[in-house]
Symmetry: C2
Subunit: 266 residues, 2 copies
Amino acid sequence: MSQDASPDHQRLIRKLDVASNLTREDRTAIARLPLISRTFDKGEDLVRQGDSPKHACLVVEGVVCRHKYLSRGRRQILSIHVPGDMPDLQSLFLDVMDHGLATLTPGRAVFVPHGALRDLIRHSPNAGGALWRDTLIDASIFREGMAGLGRRTARERLAHLLCELAVRLRTLDLVGGPRFQLPLTQSDFADALGLTNVHVNRVFQDLRREGLVRTQGKLVQIEDWAALCVAGDFDADYLHLRAEAIPPDLQDGAPVRPTQGQGTRL
Amino acid sequence: MSQDASPDHQRLIRKLDVASNLTREDRTAIARLPLISRTFDKGEDLVRQGDSPKHACLVVEGVVCRHKYLSRGRRQILSIHVPGDMPDLQSLFLDVMDHGLATLTPGRAVFVPHGALRDLIRHSPNAGGALWRDTLIDASIFREGMAGLGRRTARERLAHLLCELAVRLRTLDLVGGPRFQLPLTQSDFADALGLTNVHVNRVFQDLRREGLVRTQGKLVQIEDWAALCVAGDFDADYLHLRAEAIPPDLQDGAPVRPTQGQGTRL
DNA sequence: CGTGTTATTGACCAACATCAAACTTAGTGG
DNA sequence: CCACTAAGTTTGATGTTGGTCAATAACACG
């Protein structure tokens, strides 16, 4: 790890390290990024649809989501972000935000000027690759989200989301074990899963009754990791984690999906 | 346009030009990419989930889709690709395919070795940026897809998809006007929209009855662009097209969505 | 202790799925 | 040019998941 990196820089380094290999030089360069810190209440907008931000946002405390509003007040949460994530990195190349960024809990974010990121990319192509790769993993998570919203049942969707969050929190060292806690409301889950809060509530009751999870208020604890993976049809491949970054306690449990083909086709 | 670029190269240049500004040098560099051509029947796999391709695929004829298979034979089409698209560009940085690539019609694709693309990125950072931007627009389309699958009705989803395809085909000069033809089956639409073919059929009948579209066999013609945009809650912003690339005949009709904020927030 | 948020419950409903059959259309070969 | 076939479209009857609405209960926080 870089010796002189601030805790906020460390978060970013750790995040990129989970999916890409960073050199010592990359870390040093990242540690030099200027960061502008700002705290947020729950439910605040960090960036709004239609904005043209000049900074990229790095979450350092709390939970943030990307979301879209549709006609008739409908809302879809596109992704949920935890400390280390850069949820609007795409703004570096896409001038106008096609979605908004909002907090789901109180928290803190730091903002990196686009110019500084461009310099980083220019001078450290490898770190630039890590950033590109991060945006590609983002897209992969969206794809998995599409598959879920399009074809999975409510129960599968909820179980799958819980599995995903468990893995992501765990790989970022944000929680101690497969039992993690996440302060989201059932309405938040509903907006993320394309369901209503009422139905999310009922599905949560099912999962509790079957002993897969436990909830206390807004906190969720996974009780039976393997069963939850099965219930959610969960396979972590789409997160594209480096093998070394996957915590051992989460490595099995993911059902082996029948691979449809091996080897490269020209 | 580059003088010495092959028609296949031209397709790619045109595609990147729709969203990014390419310099003359970029075009020349792109025109030098080695391409390996291959024709395909309908329903063939170009790349499979789990593969680790060493080439990126550029569609030059026909229609291709990215898709995922889930348990119990369920399938979700993630995106539909037309000539000019590079549907697995992400494989440049993500080693293992988290989804498959298959043809929906007979067609032809050319394959670009990853090495050649890496060279291009290294020597033409601007062209590299255009590629990165292309993958980011990809992600934006996924986000819009998530919002649709999660929160839009069957009717809105179908209308929206037709609008999107119309704009993309039009900006790539693949069709002459807002009335375009697309040889997809209703089952293809169903897999893309998270519906059943039966229900897609019924929604198509509604749209025809109301005079929004016309179908003959597998061909779809848009009859009332403005009304279809309204029916699909369609706003092309998420495609992140350069203003100059938007064909005039499609510029209006998209409903103005109330912007929720202006200006950059720090 | 009050007040606003979140969770829970129940009755009822709508959109879309399922299943199965019939009908069209586009090719294909004789 | 016609019969044959396979793929795709259309229709109807029926079932299920999850939505809607509205009220109540449980918390959390000042």
